[in-house]
């Protein structure tokens, strides 16, 4: 009963580079790094806001520095990637039954995009009007 099962060697750190599906998955994974850093920037911003005008202006200067701009552009792109791939997965995660049948996935996704647009407009109005 000696069996030697075949174990396919998979490189631990570069396994995703060979297939475009895996590359896309990893791209989505990497978006979490940007979410984490941006969250940190926001928390620091709140502390700076509490510390007074000078501290707050220092934070603003950092955000609008070249490195700050590059980071925020990347973070924005990755945030969009997160939103679109999260919405794409919604029909799998959220099954809504109406009577005998399920609400079609396209409708659920569509509603999500609608709410997304509404939330974005509200935040923009708050920022523009404030």
């Amino acid at each position: 009963m000696s069996r030697k099962p075949y174990v396919r060697e998979v490189p631990k750190t570069t396994w995703f580079l060979k297939q475009s599906r895996y590359q896309h998955y990893m791209l989505h994974e990497i978006s979490s790094i940007f979410v984490a850093i941006y969250t940190g920037i926001l928390i620091v911003g709140l502390f700076r806001l509490a510390q007074g005008p000078e501290a707050w202006n220092g934070w603003l200067a950092a955000v609008t520095s070249p490195i700050g701009i590059v980071f925020h552009v990347l973070a924005f792109v990755f945030a969009l990637l997160h939103t679109t791939s999260w919405f794409k997965a919604v029909p799998q995660a959220m099954r809504i039954q109406r009577g005998e049948s399920f609400v079609p996935g396209n409708l659920i996704v569509g509603v999500h995009y609608g709410v997304w647009a509404a939330v974005s407009v509200v935040v923009l109005l708050l920022a523009g009007v404030a």
Binding site: I43, A75, W86
Partner: protein
Amino acid sequence: MARSAKAVPWFLFAAGGTVIAFILPVMIFVTGLAPAVGLFGDALSYETMQAFVGNWLIKLILLGVIVLAAWHAAHRLRVCAHDFGIRADHTVAIVVYSVAAIATAATIIALLMI
């Protein structure tokens, strides 16, 4: 059936993913991109922001968004570490969830200071 503590991080992960999907792009635009190009004038000036964040409703919303984003990112970074070949899940989990806990406490403290 054995009870599992997985429900807690899973809920925070799912709720966080949903909340940031809706709000993060526009938030990054307003706090990160708009000031760089001078959009919205002095919307991010100290006085405006003090008044804006001073509102308890805004504080509650910011707390919800930041805390959920932190826990969502922590859970995803844990998976990310595994995908990049780091096979020390227990240690990674302790690190990322600790950072998320610290971020939660820091957010509460900062909001109380404003």
